[in-house]
Amino acid sequence: MTVPEREAVALDAAAVPSETAVAKPLGLWLDRRRLLIGAAVIAGLVAPLVVANFTIFQLTMVMIYGLAILGLNLLTGFNGQFSLGHSAFYGIGAYTAAILMSGSADLAYYWTLPCAGAVCFIVGISLGLPALRLQGLYLALATFALAVALPQLLKSHLLEGLTGGVQGIVIDKPDPPPGLPINADQWLYYFTLAVLLVMFAAAAGLVRSRTGRAIMAIRDHPIAAAAMGINTARYKTLTFGVSALYTGVAGALGAIVVQFVAPDSFNFLLSVNFLVGLIVGGIGSIPGSLFGGVFVLFVPNIAEKVSTGLSGAVYGVILLLLIFLMPSGAAGFVRRTAASLARLRRVSTTESIGRSTR
């Protein structure tokens, strides 16, 4: 293992080491994981054909939130820069899509995704530069400022002509391509799924590459990383940009699926939601982000079912239970269970070998 990876494992026993460090001692596990991913993808492809439209809508939103959380994960989980401002990137992506699709531009919905991504990338980079000077809670405040500023800017009469002010913008639902025997909800689901798979794969590739290792090295031991010749400023800023890009694309998808954007939807509380989803899913885990999306969408509904008046309290209790049982998030929990299972298997194998050689 390289120095940063060793540090990462030592720093926090429950934290997530890099993907390769996990794969080596559990080679059999890696193949199993590929099988699991394959199974999940197949389930994802079949799902909309068997469930109701409304559930398809929910699953699409889960994927969108998962993508947004993956963006936050890249910045906070893999690069250690704490952000409370991702609701702003989500909102900027959503409004970019809404503005382009309505009004005079009348852009097709699929083109809004790269536009939203590009806009957010630029915004992210411009924020990443000054963020270099800030650490920890001070960075949190700066990103929090962003989260608070966005709804105010969207509502201000400076930008009212563009954003529709407090009334928001209503978007038409895209139709499926002619000839395909699926309805609009199913089409949006597949569209989102395709985007999700591409972007998740890209993120996984990024994390496994040299760039990814540099990014994680900066998180774990910035001084050592700099000493090894990594240009921390460049990587930190770039990560900000890429992270914003991911969440921005998620925002654009969100706008298209919900068909409506309004300024107060993209407030500070959404940032907190993303953060909670990230932690519950497992920081530094790419599939964990999807679990975070599931959490963000479904747990408030569950809490409400238990008690309408005290739904917030029930939500808090569920959250506490999850943190007590899975301090490193769902991904950490899965990893630890797999590791204990593998250990059990190894113990019984060595025992049987020992017995047979006697």
Binding site: L137, Y138, A140, F144, A145, A149, I223, P327, S328
Partner: protein
């Protein structure tokens, strides 16, 4: 010119609210090294307890004292029960525990005491101060109490053995353990102190903003901004930061033409971020130098 003075004084009055909260925020930050999102909700809950006692007919000072005592105990209890199990979890997981606490308290407040705003009495009276139309006696009292609390804390931390032990436990837990300081209890004490200060803050703030379950959300955010501006390692800085945030926000709202009103929170935060660019640890904060 007169309007400037008026807005500055009004800003000081609002800033006093933020300063009290900022003080509580910094207290817990010093004890446990991160931000307690649930601080505001704990303060609101304490204030509701006090209100309930007053509603039952008890005297203001009795309710005040009992509430502060109960809040102190609640703070310690929360630390021992809720946060000790997750103390070894990643920092971000602890953050989630705070968020959970926030959610539970906020929801429970609404359910128990409903959302009608309630007025909360003040021992200072509400006449205009010295006959001037700028701030009331209560707001002046609020400023005074905040400064007194700050002074008391200063004396406690610098002049008493317990205060020294707490500082040691926060600065270097390992070394502190080696000299016999029970670090776990020092942290719990820090929690208790911060909840008690939060209760005082809540009871000072409620007469101005009225008591309702969502009373503290905005205040916590502004208090947090003030604490960061002043420097998270400096209680005095946090208090000054709180005042500064109040003044900046008022001036931005009044004097920046055209958009000042709508964007005053944004402007205030931009100013703070700009300050942080120059002094990344806050105005009075100490940049921690760590050995590599």
């Amino acid at each position: 010119m007169e309007q400037l003075l008026q807005q500055v004084v009004a800003g000081l009055a609002t800033g006093a609210i933020y300063a009290t909260m900022a003080l509580a925020v910094v207290m817990v930050y010093q004890a446990i090294d991160h931000l307690n999102f649930a601080q505001g909700e704990l303060a609101t809950f304490s204030t509701f307890l006090a209100w309930q006692m007053i509603d039952w007919g008890w005297s203001y000072w009795a309710a005040f004292a009992i509430t502060v005592a109960i809040s102190f105990v609640i703070g310690i209890a929360i630390d021992r029960i809720l946060f000790r199990p997750v103390r070894n979890a990643p920092i971000l997981s602890q953050l989630v525990a705070f968020i959970a606490l926030f959610s539970i308290l906020n929801s429970s407040d609404g359910e128990i005491w409903n959302f009608t705003i309630k007025s909360f009495p003040t021992p200072f009276g509400t006449k205009p101060l010295l006959g001037s139309g700028l701030i009331s006696t209560h707001q002046a009292g609020m400023v005074a109490v905040t400064l007194v609390m700050l002074a008391l804390l200063y004396v406690f931390f610098r002049g008493s053995r317990l205060g020294l032990a707490m500082r040691a436990a926060a600065a270097n837990p390992e070394a502190a353990r080696l000299v016999g300081i029970r670090v776990g209890w020092m942290i719990a004490l820090g929690w208790g102190l911060s909840t008690a200060i939060g209760a005082v803050a809540g009871m000072l703030i409620a007469p101005v903003v009225f008591l309702d379950p969502n009373m503290m959300l905005g205040v916590l955010l502004y208090g947090f901004a003030g604490a960061v501006l002043g420097g998270l390692s400096s209680p005095g800085g946090a208090v000054l930061g709180g005042f500064a945030v109040g003044i900046i926000e008022n001036l931005a709202g009044t004097f920046i033409p055209f958009v000042g009103q709508e964007l005053k929170l944004t402007v205030a935060l931009i100013v703070i971020v700009a300050v942080l660019m120059v002094r990344p640890a806050g105005i009075f904060g100490r940049v921690a130098v760590s050995r590599v």
